[in-house]
Amino acid sequence: MKKISLIHLKAGHKGKVAEITGGSNLAARLMSMGLYKGKEVTKISHIGLKGPVVVKSGRTILALGHGPAAKIILEVVC
């Protein structure tokens, strides 16, 4: 197990949300959209180096800007 941010996860790989750092506003918004601690997510793609990230959690597909994506810390098996 190791912890990495969502932007460092490779596209097509899975991870479990360990922590959402930064302001509580982001955590609350993600929480209401169904992305919270312990939830498993699959990263679908990452556009460019500083671009947005697309993830799938459950049946929901979310697009996040680079900033918010960097604040989502995942636990991954390696």
Binding site: A28, G34, I44, L64
Partner: protein
């Protein structure tokens, strides 16, 4: 006493369609979150009572995290709970995420009817929901519906009266999600489905490599189709009607005219080479209907057909992801592409839909960019119609200039305006194949709106212009501005009239340029100026409403500055 019904639910679950089904009020619905930016109300007959129905903006939670959610929550708490029923609309294909709001609504004591919408789609995707089981757990009526086809709506109406507040303990979000997990295990059964074509396509459209490839293809095809359909309608339908049927009729009619005085001037206009010229005569019965029906309407049909198709398939949010990087440099995020695209139809809905952007700063940048750099469809149709005859290069040139303005303006505004723009956080809808009937209805609504809004203004406008021209009342204004227009833009003084008319209708304004005998360079500059200078009066009012007076003044100053600079530069640097 039941007085009000609220439609609440997550974004993009089809609330607006359910609303249309219940009230008969037609509203635009699309396959992306945030279509409904204005509050819509309608009426539903329950027995012999009439109950008000309100379509709330999409919300994920009753603890508001966005402006749309704030609006929804404040409306819900406006009236006592025994006077309202909440119809909670859910997307059956994604029950889990939708249930948070449902549990919160029930928890807060709202009499709730749960409406599991998109049941056809759920079935198609192998999602089975035990309705009776869910009803028992939630202690409120649950109805499965498909608003697109109208299935289940009757049952939904019958159940409205049976809704009563249920008693539930209050939980935190974490606890709610755990409970939702249990509910899902109890009532939802998923058939295993292989990755099908649709999911592959959904994935491919947001991958860096394939995504841009697909985007380029979609945009190219969209442009081609809009022109193909638009020109097709002009060549096959409207031009034959105007030239083979309408003109002979008008000519016969005008032969009976003995003296060509005021009324002739007003209705028919000037004869060009002894004949009626629809593009140049400028009469209420000649040029006015030709501009609206013969030049603009065909493109309104083709543009909104393609736009509605892209909206309903669900492509636009994906385009937003791909453009996020680029739009960030302009102080916007990817989702701003949706207001911009709507702005290409008409600036008014474009600026209204900047409400999908969270911060005031973003809304200011987006609105200013739209009113300066995004030409509305009537204007584009006229530019294509008039400049196009000199060659596609000139039409392309106008777009190139406008695009450069958007780019530079965005970069500058992003530098100069204080603060920063928030980032993207949006749910991406699945691709859906829009039913032809729904697409047709939406297209019809948009065309009807165009005809009702544009045609009266154009007829009255042309009438008014002709009276002013006949009595030479414009001479005063042209006299004042002539040195400016000639000196900076290199345009003749008559062009002042067209530029002023641009404030009322852009298409008529371009039409007014036609009889002036401008050189191609002058035509190019005048058309570009009409695009970037002042927006039309309708856009102006919406800008005022959305931005407030201070920001409107700022925006207007930017417009004037940009017009002067760009017009002047074009005059200097274009040789012929």
């Amino acid at each position: 006493m039941l007085k009000r019904i609220y439609l609440a639910g997550n974004p993009n679950v089809g609330k607006s369609l359910v609303f249309s089904r219940l009230t008969g009020v037609q509203v635009i619905s699309s396959n992306y979150p945030g279509t409904t930016v204005e509050l819509v109300k309608g009426w539903l007959s329950l027995g012999d009572e009439k109950v008000e129905v309100v379509d709330l903006p999409g919300a994920y939670s009753l603890e508001p995290n966005s402006k749309a959610e704030e609006v929804a929550v404040s409306l819900l708490s406006q009236y006592p709970k025994d006077e309202i029923v909440v119809i909670n609309v859910l997307d059956s294909t994604n029950l889990e995420r939708n249930l948070l709001l449902t549990l919160q609504l029930i928890e807060k004591g709202f009499p709730t009817v749960v409406c599991l919408n998109m049941c056809d789609d759920a079935l198609h995707r192998g999602v089975h929901i035990d309705i009776a089981g869910l009803e028992k757990i939630l202690q409120c009526p649950v109805v499965s519906t498909c608003a697109v086809t109208g299935k289940g709506i009757k049952t939904l109406v019958e159940k409205i009266k049976t809704a009563v507040p249920a008693v539930r303990a209050k939980f935190s979000h974490e606890e709610l999600w755990i409970e939702i997990g249990h509910i899902i295990e109890d009532v939802q059964r998923l058939e295993h489905r292989h990755h099908r074509f649709r999911e592959r396509l959904e994935d491919a459209s947001v991958q860096p490599l394939t995504g841009f490839f697909i985007a380029a293809g979609v945009i190219y095809a969209a442009f081609k189709f809009v022109r193909f359909i638009g020109e097709g309608i002009i060549n096959k339908i409207t031009d034959p009607v105007f030239f083979d049927l309408y003109r002979p009729l008008l000519e016969k009619f005008s032969l009976h005219w003995q003296e060509k005085g005021f009324w002739f001037h007003l209705l028919i206009g000037d004869l060009i080479g002894g004949k009626i010229d629809f593009k140049q005569s400028l009469g209420v019965l000649t040029t006015a209907p030709y501009i609206e029906f013969g030049m603009v309407l065909p493109y309104v049909v083709s543009f909104y057909f393609i736009l509605s198709l892209l909206e309903d398939i669900g492509y636009l949010p994906r385009l937003a992801i791909l453009l996020d990087n680029f739009l960030h440099r302009l102080g916007l995020h990817g989702y701003a592409i949706i207001p911009v695209l709507l702005g290409f139809g008409c600036n008014v809905p474009g600026i209204l839909s900047t409400r999908v952007l969270e911060s005031k700063r973003e809304r200011f940048i987006a609105s200013t960019i739209i009113s300066i750099g995004v030409p509305c469809l009537p204007l584009q149709a006229m530019i294509i119609g008039l400049l196009g005859s000199f060659g596609g290069l000139y039409v392309g040139g106008v777009y190139l200039v406008l695009f450069s303005i958007i780019l530079i303006l965005g970069l500058v505004l992003n530098r100069l305006l204080p603060g920063f723009s928030p980032e993207f956080l949006i749910e991406i809808p699945p691709y859906r194949l829009p039913p032809p009937g729904m697409l047709a209805r939406k297209l019809f609504m948009r065309i009807r709106a165009f005809i009702f809004e544009a045609v009266p203004v154009v007829l009255v406008g042309v009438c008014f212009i002709n009276i002013l021209l006949y009595f030479r009342l414009f001479d005063f204004v042209t006299g004042i501005f002539a040195p400016l227009v000639r000196g900076i833009f290199g345009l003749p003084k008559e062009a002042v009239v067209a530029l002023v008319i641009g404030f009322f209708r852009k298409d008529v304004a371009v039409g007014m340029l036609a009889p002036l005998g401008l050189s191609i360079k002058q035509m190019f500059i005048a058309a570009t100026l009409l695009a970037i200078s002042f927006p039309c009066v309708a856009t102006f009012i919406v800008l005022w409403k959305e931005l407030g007076f201070r920001d409107l003044v700022k925006s207007v100053l930017i417009m004037v500055a940009v017009s002067l600079i760009v017009g002047g530069l074009l005059n200097i640097f274009i040789l012929r």
